[in-house]
């Protein structure tokens, strides 16, 4: 049942040209980050680490959360059009499968975006002419970034399932991005999804999370994913759709 739902989600994404959005936002942030790094090499002497601080700043703080919001809103767009919620809720599949399929698809999409960002980062560094080896923390930054992105994706899906408008969840997501930045600055980074992304990807500090912080990071993300998903599924089961 779940597999069929996932297949249906992929079919809905065909010819959506969502890949243009998925590629353009990381591309712009890496280009600007690399240009800034190349122009300030006198100050930024830490090779790959300095490059990461430049490219991940705009990507992790602004572009990636908005990209997640846009992808999540897109995954619910078809359901909100033409009274499709009525049709989809009468399909012989469980509500849980419907939502988990969306979570699975957004997770794969975000993994692809992270992979593309990794390729751009390495290509950018090589074009600039960095000689050192890649930082050993890089897989951790990317993986933790993906985990936090999935948590944000679930939160955005919850908003997009509830709100018919395409733009409103994106706007709310942007406000949460700034709230997350504020919470990170106030050392409350491990309790809010958007600041978990900042902490996990090492956007503002590349020192890495300690053992305790890493544990808390994974627990908080898991908690957000499970609790929000359970809440959305409960609501979909118990409340009538509005089309």
């Amino acid at each position: 049942m779940l597999q069929q739902c996932i297949s249906a989600e992929w079919i809905k994404l065909r010819r959506s040209y969502l890949w243009i959005v998925m590629m353009s936002l990381p591309l712009v942030s890496v280009c600007i980050g690399c240009a800034n790094f190349a122009m300030n090499q006198g100050v930024l002497k830490n090779e790959w680490y300095s490059l990461w601080s430049q490219v991940s700043l705009f990507y992790g703080e602004f572009f990636f959360p908005i990209l997640i919001a846009i992808c999540s809103a897109y995954l619910c767009r078809l359901e909100h059009a033409n009274r499709n919620w009525n049709m989809i809720m009468t399909a012989p599949v469980s509500v849980g499968s419907l939502f988990i399929a969306k979570v699975a698809v957004i997770s794969v999409l975000l993994l692809l975006v992270q992979g593309f960002f990794f390729i751009l980062y390495v290509a950018g560094g090589m074009l600039i002419g960095l000689q050192a080896d890649l930082p050993p923390e890089l897989p951790g930054w990317l993986f933790r970034g993906w985990i936090a992105a999935v948590a944000i994706g679930v939160l955005q899906l919850a908003l997009s399932v509830r709100i018919r408008s395409f733009a409103a969840p994106v706007g709310i997501g942007l406000c949460m991005t700034f709230l997350g930045l504020g919470m990170y600055v106030m050392n409350l980074g491990l309790i809010f999804p958007h600041s978990l992304l900042t902490a996990g990807m090492g956007v503002l500090s590349q020192e890495g999370l300690g053992l305790g912080s890493s544990f808390l990071f994974y627990v908080m993300n898991l908690l957000y994913i499970v609790v929000i998903s359970a809440g959305v599924m409960y609501r979909m089961r118990s409340t009538d759709v509005v089309s």
């Binding site: 572009f63 909100h80 733009a167 700034f178």
Partner: protein, 252 residues
């Protein structure tokens, strides 16, 4: 025409668009005013209106293109989503008039945002105890520059939101525009002039410059800014007319 504009506002009832706009602007204002407050605490000799206005113009470059994209997308998407284009056209509503009504509606929302920012700056400065009186002329110039830049961006966003049903692209453009607005000052002048999003800081009455390690604020001459304001208004009109032309000839 007045009727068409009133109908646009009527359609926005209970859509929480105004609430979301206020929420969005509040986030921006809190950020800007907190930054200004911290700057004043560190440098008490620099307390004045100029840093507050300059801080808000920099943040406008990031926030307002995204807000414009959201506002326009919501105004246009309701017609796409509700399949109401045919219905509207059978009510003998000309497409050009509908396009204009939507544009004026979006402009009115952004105008209220500019007014809100102007009032909050005045209130903040008064509460902070800035010794100079409220600079009405500077605030009027700030609001004019912000509004003209927003008009050009709204025209561009409306063109995209009307022509392309998938609003992901309009929001992506808004996001890229926000980025261009934020880093626009770092580009060479020739490139900066081509980016409509960079005019939030370009038309600001306050300019910033580093002299040594010190950040200095100075008031731009009005005579230098006016041709840019006029030029951007012409560009906004050209984008609006081009968008209206293409949107009106599109098959429903």
């Amino acid at each position: 025409m007045i009727h068409a504009i009133r109908l646009e506002f009527y359609k926005l009832r209970r859509r929480f668009l105004f609430g979301m706009t206020v929420l969005f602007v509040c986030v921006e204002l809190i950020w800007a005013l907190m930054a200004a407050n911290m700057s004043f605490a560190r440098n008490p000799d620099r307390v004045g209106w100029e840093p507050v206005i300059a801080m808000l113009t920099s943040l406008n470059g990031l926030f307002l293109p995204i807000l414009s994209a959201i506002v326009v997308s919501r105004i246009c998407d309701m017609e796409h989503k509700g399949n109401t284009w045919k219905l509207l056209l059978t009510c003998s509503m000309k497409r050009e008039r509908l396009y204009a009504a939507k544009y004026i509606c979006a402009c009115a929302i952004m105008l209220s945002v500019c007014a809100m920012q102007g009032l909050v700056i005045a209130a903040f400065g008064t509460v902070q105890g800035i010794t100079q009186s409220v600079p009405g002329f500077l605030l009027a110039r700030f609001m004019l520059g912000t509004m003209v830049a927003s008009m050009a961006i709204l025209a561009l966003q409306q063109w995209l939101s009307m022509v392309v049903k998938n609003q992901a692209f309009a929001l992506c453009l808004g996001m890229l525009g926000g980025f261009a607005g934020l880093v626009g000052d770092l580009f060479p002048a020739a490139v900066r002039k081509l980016l409509v999003w960079s005019y939030y800081s370009g038309l600001s009455p306050i300019a910033q410059n580093y002299t040594g390690n010190e950040l200095q604020f100075y008031v731009r001459n009005l005579s230098d800014s006016l041709p840019e304001v006029g030029g951007l208004m012409v560009v906004a009109m050209a984008i609006y007319l081009a968008g209206r032309f293409f949107a009106s000839r599109q098959e429903v």
